[in-house]
């Protein structure tokens, strides 16, 4: 089986399983929505203009909800022994990584696409431009690239649900900083061309850690 065929087979499997249960998607989406609402109330009384905190709210909501989804990504593989089956299949370990990673990326992106219009309505802001979507995509890509490896690590530890955010958040900080900065600057009306160094930072992060993940994933799932 060639590499990309294996990758897409894994993505298809994850999407099909998800469409039947809708477990991951519904919990991620409801959690993200709740996070936005909770943040709204925790900031509303202190901040002169909600526009100032919306970038932070969006990114934190995505990070928390994404972590929730990543936690499930390998739990479902392991509970019924499906990971062992994947590892026994005659495909490259890297194909399993990219399959899971792109699947996670797709789930989080769908949640974002539904969350964004709601945030626009709640806060009366315009977020559905290609610049905003590009920034969100790049940030989410880095999140999924690192998160997939860490989720495969965390699932094998004691207290696995708690372990993932502890491992993930400090490594994720550059994405969060750059994402909040970019979303905020775009909301303030700055053109993307003046923010290229931030885009560069996220792209370097995405590429660098995808390569590191590609090189190390085999060690994580090896038994």
């Amino acid at each position: 089986m060639n590499f990309w065929k294996a990758v897409f087979a894994i993505i298809r499997k994850d999407i099909r399983a998800e469409l039947r249960t809708k477990d991951i998607f519904s919990s991620m989406f409801v959690f993200a929505l709740l996070a936005v609402i909770v943040f709204n109330f925790s900031f509303e009384l202190r901040v002169p203009e909600m526009k100032m905190v919306v970038p932070g709210i969006v990114w934190v909501a995505i990070t928390f909800a994404g972590t929730l989804g990543l936690n499930r990504a390998f739990v479902i593989e392991q509970d019924k022994g499906s990971l062992a089956g994947l590892l026994l299949a005659p495909v490259d370990r890297a194909a399993i990584y990219f399959g899971k990673m792109l699947g996670n990326l797709a789930f989080i992106l769908v949640v974002e696409l539904i969350l964004l219009p709601l945030v626009m309505i709640f806060f009366n802001l315009s977020l559905l431009t290609w610049q905003h979507l590009l920034v969100l995509f790049l940030g989410t890509f880095g999140f999924a690239a690192v998160g997939t490896v860490f989720s495969a690590i965390a699932v094998n530890t004691r207290a696995r649900e708690v372990m993932l955010p502890i491992l993930l958040f400090p490594v994720l900080l550059p994405v969060l900083v750059a994402g909040v900065k970019l979303t905020g600057a775009l909301l303030d009306g700055e053109p993307l061309s003046e923010l290229l160094n931030w885009i560069q930072l996220i792209v370097i992060y995405d590429l660098g850690f995808t390569i590191v993940a590609y090189l190390t994933f085999g060690f994580v799932v090896e038994e």
């Binding site: 690192v146 490896v149 860490f150 690590i153 094998n156 530890t157 004691r158 207290a159 372990m163 502890i166 491992l167 400090p170 490594v171 900080l173 550059p174 900083v177 750059a178 900065k181 160094n197 931030w198 930072l201 370097i204 992060y205 660098g208 850690f209 590191v212 190390t216 060690f219 994580v220 090896e222």
Partner: protein
């Protein structure tokens, strides 16, 4: 080298490290000249540089060694590499705390606050948290081979993320990519240079000595664990 020679070499190394640390403590507190053009408080506080900068350098060195040893483990599956990685990471945490505490003591007279969200300070905190997470990860697994593999992978991610985090926070705090560091507002005179490089060298020797001790301890611990397992404890 035989067992005996090695033990002797380690004792000598330890004594040399101790002597060097004493010498640099003397240089730092009395030998080095006062910094010019500072208030009285700041003149005293400035002497923390002989302790603070070496500690910060060692924490970076220690975490770097952890990453290299982790790659060594993943490449060879030899347990010694993992023991080296964990020993060095532990020292890295100790020196991170030493650098943070000394920096905080200096910051109070110099900046009038114990803490500020300066890029270096923030990056340093994140680095500390990264390696706290490293130890939490280690403690959440029983099987030594799996623990070594997972911790090794995490150490690589953690260490590589530090420079990117630094860049991102540096840009975040200022509009322009380049920030003039308040730490480097003064140059060092010749007498101060001597003291500074002496303590830098002494701390590095201290690190090596501590690392060898800690590594030996880790190996012994593993040996005890293996023996216990054989005996069915």
């Amino acid at each position: 080298m035989t067992q005996n020679h090695r033990a002797t070499a380690l004792i000598v190394l330890t004594l040399v490290a101790a002597a060097l640390i004493l010498a640099s403590a003397y240089m730092a507190l009395a030998g080095a000249p006062d910094a010019a053009g500072l208030t009285e408080d700041n003149t005293y506080a400035q002497r923390i540089i002989y302790f603070h900068v070496p500690s910060a350098w060692l924490s970076m060195l220690a975490f770097g060694v952890t990453m290299v040893a982790s790659i060594g483990y993943l490449a060879t599956s030899k347990r010694g590499w993992d023991s080296l990685a964990v020993s060095s990471a532990e020292l890295g945490l100790v020196f991170t705390l030493a650098a943070t505490a000394s920096g905080s003591i200096w910051a109070k007279p110099a900046w009038n606050v114990w803490w500020t969200w300066d890029p270096r300070l923030t990056t340093y905190t994140i680095m500390f948290l990264l390696f706290v997470a490293y130890f939490m990860l280690r403690s959440a697994m029983e099987d030594p081979a799996r623990r070594a593999r997972f911790a090794g992978v995490y150490a690589i991610f953690a260490f590589l993320s530090v420079p990117i985090t630094f860049m991102s926070i540096r840009w975040w705090r200022t509009i322009h990519p380049v920030l003039i560091d308040p730490n480097e507002g003064f140059g060092l005179g010749p007498g101060m240079m001597t003291a500074f490089f002496l303590s830098l060298a002494s701390f590095t020797v201290l690190y090596v000595a501590l690392l060898v001790h800690r590594y030996r301890l880790e190996r012994m611990k593993e040996e005890v664990d293996d023996l216990k397992e054989q005996l069915g404890y």
